[in-house]
Each structure stands twice: as C-alpha cells, then as structure tokens.
C-alpha cells in the first residue's frame, strides 16, 4: 500500500524528521510551561533543511566508481541506465526479468524527506522520490517461507571502473529481513528533488532504508531475490566485526567506529557535530521490529 508513511514535513517545513519529533515533544511540554519557552528551540529546528542538490550529488560513496567521495560524480556518467531490467527470483509467485517500466507499473511515486546517516559518521537530509518496496513485493507475490530479501547491484566493469579493482567482492550485495523490507519506510528511490536519480546516487533504481547506515541502501539494483536464509552482504563479508548484517543506526554500539555523534554535511568548516539518534530518529516507527533482540549483538 502506497502512502504507508506520510512525511510529517511539507516542502515549506523542511526540518528533518527526528528533529520534528523532538519539537513535538518539546511543544507538548511547552503547552504546560507557556509557549514562549518553546520558541528558540522551534526556530533552531526549522533552520535545518535538506541538503542542496549539489551536496547530495557530489558527495557519494559508490565504490563501483572509486573510493573517493568525488569519484562517483566524476565517473558515473559512463553508466548506461537505459535499457534497464531487474531480475526478481527466489520465493516469488511471478519470477522473471522485469523491465524498469514493468517494475514501475502500478507503483505510486511519493516524496520522502529522509535523514541519511553514513557509517563514516556524517549525515545528510535527502528529499527522495520513490515507491514503497512492499508494493513491488506484493506485485510479484511473496511465497510463504520467504524470510529475507537480497539485492544486487549491476556488475559492469567497463562502465564501472571501480569494479576493475578488488576493493569489494563484486557485485555489491545487500539484504533485509522480510519484515524490514515490508516496512512502509523502506523505499525504492527513483529520484531526488523531483528529478531523475543521478547515476552517482544509484540510478535508475535504489533502495533507501533510513534507519540503517547508508551502505545498506544499495544502488543501481539489477536483482532482487526472496530467500529463506539470511543472504550474504558485501560489507558484512568484508569485515563482519565492523559491519553487521542489520547495521541499524545505533549511537550505543561502536560498529566500525564510535557512532555516538555525526557531522552534518553542508555546514562548512565549523559545522557542529550533533548527537546520533537510535534508528536514526525513526525508532517510533521501527523499534518494534527488533523487540527482544540484543542490538549490541545483532548490530
């Protein structure tokens, strides 16, 4: 079902979601204390806004084009994204190779302003356009027994120069538990700021899971499989201690590095670090998925 999650933000009120909840809490408290006390905090929250098109499209991790932050923007223009097809297989009712148009058929493209938190401890706010992954999964029909969804990025070294090196075990692979994949926050993005997704951001189709570290949100997807067992994923294969399968944003678990704070991109040389929120601020929506799990063990 499209529209399973509504931006609590309009385009005129572009505060990141997490700060919105902070503000809501604050306003509830302020109702008892007098509204004036809430004013400075509100002003501060409203000053936050999505990163510029330039920030979002020039500062990327997409190792298929090189490990430098500017490499994807410099080299991704070589990538051919049309024609594009996505192979959907495994435990599905209608497996097959779908053209991009077939994938998009019947999907409702929505605006979703999400916070993006990288495991390297920087963050952005991105105004995505896309559809809910669960709508696609319902379209192809998930068979009983499926517990996980795995994804693969295109493997095409002649257009993706980073794949000529052995930095990661190509093609890039990621995965989600089925309930994570079916969550209304989980998006298949096709655009940013109402424009087509640039190649360096994972054109023409990428995953966005806003409560997980950015590397989970796999780019330029050519394959989706429904599986019974937990799929292998690229970063987890590379260094299982640093990069867990779940990789939920968690300030309390020092995965890869200390994750307690983040540096917002776009604030310049003197940008202040801000505290990182559990589940990247989406705890109200997703914490229930992990009830009873020891998140310091399953990180």
């Amino acid at each position: 079902m499209a529209g399973g999650w509504k931006n609590d933000l309009s385009w005129a009120d572009v505060t990141p979601e997490a700060d919105f909840w902070d503000r809501r809490k604050f306003m509830t408290a302020a109702a008892g204390l007098g509204v004036a006390a809430a004013m400075p905090r509100m002003a501060q929250a409203q000053a936050l806004k999505p990163n510029s098109w330039k920030d979002i499209t020039s500062y990327n991790n997409f190792y298929e084009f090189g490990t430098g932050k500017g490499d994807p923007a410099a080299y991704a223009h070589q990538l051919t994204t049309s024609p594009w097809s996505v192979e959907i297989d495994g435990l599905v009712e209608n497996p097959g190779t779908y053209s991009l148009a077939d994938v998009l058929d019947g999907m409702e493209i929505e605006d979703r302003i999400y916070r993006l938190r990288c495991v390297e401890t920087w963050s952005m706010v991105v105004p995505w356009n896309g559809f809910e992954l669960r709508d696609l999964l319902k379209k192809v029909g998930v068979k009983p027994g499926a517990k996980y969804v795995s994804f693969e990025t295109l493997l095409r070294p002649e257009e993706m120069p980073g794949q000529k090196g052995k930095v990661l075990d190509w093609p890039y692979r990621e995965g989600l538990r089925l309930d994570e994949a079916m969550h209304p926050l989980t998006l298949m993005a096709t655009g940013i700021y109402g424009r087509d997704l640039p190649n360096q951001n994972g054109a023409p189709l990428r995953l966005v899971v806003p409560w997980k570290y950015g590397f989970k949100s796999i780019k330029s997807i050519v394959k989706i499989s429904l599986t019974r067992r937990q799929p292998r994923t690229s970063w987890n294969d590379y260094n299982p201690r640093a990069f867990g399968f779940y990789s939920n944003v968690n300030p309390e678990v020092a995965a890869f590095t200390n994750q307690s704070s983040e540096r917002p991109i776009g604030g310049g040389v003197f940008a202040k670090r801000i505290p990182t929120l559990k589940f990247n601020g989406y705890g109200d929506q997703v914490a229930s998925l992990y009830q009873g799990m020891d998140l310091s063990k399953f990180y």
Binding site: S58, Y59, E120, I265, G268, V269, F270, R273
Partner: protein, 199 residues
C-alpha cells in the same frame, strides 16, 4: 652533478618555511570558500595528511640521493622535517578541533581505534625531533647523540604511512604504494655487510 650541487648550495632553505605556512593558509581558505566540496573538514584532513606523507618521502629521499646520485640536498633537510611536523600538527588539529570536536571522544578514539593510536604515536615521536631541529640542540646534545635521537624519524615515517593505510575502510592501492616507497627508502639505508667477507 658538481654544477647542480653548486647551484643548490646557493639556494636558501628558509623559503620552505614561508611556503609551508602559506600553503596551509591556502588550503584552509579553499576549505572555507567551498572549493573543497560539501565536506571540507574531511577534505582538509586528507589534504594535510597526504601532503605530510609526500614531504616525508621527499625527506627520506635526500640521503639516498646523495649516496646513489651524488646530489647534495642535505641543507634542506631541517626545513623539510619541520614542514612535515607543521603539516602533521595541523592535520591533527583539524581532526581534533573541527572533526571530532569533543576531547572525551578524541581520547576514546586514541584508545579504541588502532590507526588513530598509530597516527598519534607518529606525531608524539616527532615532537622531540622538531624541538631539537636547531643548531643549539646539536651542540648541547653532541652530534652523535643528536644523530641517534633523529633515527626516530624512521619510526615516525613508518607509523605515518601505516596510519594512512589503516585509516581507509578497505585496502586501497595508493596508501600501500606510499608505504612501499617509504619502506624502500628505508631499506636503501641499511649498510649490508658483505657476506663473503665475514664468512
């Protein structure tokens, strides 16, 4: 080579100090002006660290250049060494003040992230070298003790190059190339005893 050495002898070393400080100023201005992209803090760290590493390579090449090429650049060694120290100090400063920002977090990183520990060790070992890079110290310590102390340079450069390799999320070629070059320049210094003669 005689001619080149004669020419080099007439060149002063002091412009290296001025150029180093101006270079840092220029990099910082680039970061402020947006020329370094959306994440100027990270870009500045990278630029300063890389520059320090490149100057380390230049510094280490001076002795072999004299030994194997007869090119005498010894007079620039002190200024280059102090330039390395300066850029590493600025690299460290940017990391602590602009990147990590909290002292508690800095200390935590020093303990928990080996590549930070290694980088810091490299810097700490550089301090006595920088403090004794003057004629007075050579006289006070005596040339032999001074030379012995300054052998610490070898530990500094190896730790610095290792820090650069380990700080990457994956094994990358470029940092390994730097490490290889530095290792090669150190190996060239070893005085091999002829095996035949000792046998």
């Amino acid at each position: 080579m005689q001619k080149i050495n004669g020419f080099v002898r007439r060149l002063p070393a002091w412009p290296i100090y001025i150029v180093s400080v101006a270079w840092f100023g220029w990099l910082f201005w680039q970061a402020l002006s947006g020329a370094m992209g959306p994440d100027p803090v990270n870009a500045l760290e990278l630029a300063l660290g890389t520059l320090a590493l490149q100057l380390m390579v230049a510094l280490l090449a001076i002795s072999p250049a004299r030994k194997y090429l007869g090119l005498n650049l010894i007079k620039f060694r002190r200024a280059l060494g102090l330039a390395v120290f300066f850029f590493v100090a600025m690299h460290l400063g940017v990391w602590m003040i602009l990147d990590v920002q909290f002292l508690g977090q800095v200390l935590n990183d020093l303990v928990k992230r080996p590549f930070i520990t290694i980088g810091m060790a490299s810097f700490v070992l550089m301090v006595p070298l920088a403090l004794t890079s003057n004629n007075l110290s050579i006289r006070r310590l005596g040339p032999q003790a001074w030379n012995k102390l300054h052998k610490l340079t070898y530990a500094v450069v190896i730790l610095g190059a290792a820090h650069n390799v380990l700080i990457q999320k994956t094994w990358e070629t470029e940092p390994l190339v730097y490490l290889g070059i530095i290792a090669a320049l150190l190996v060239m210094r070893i005085k091999w005893r002829p095996f035949m003669a000792t046998a």
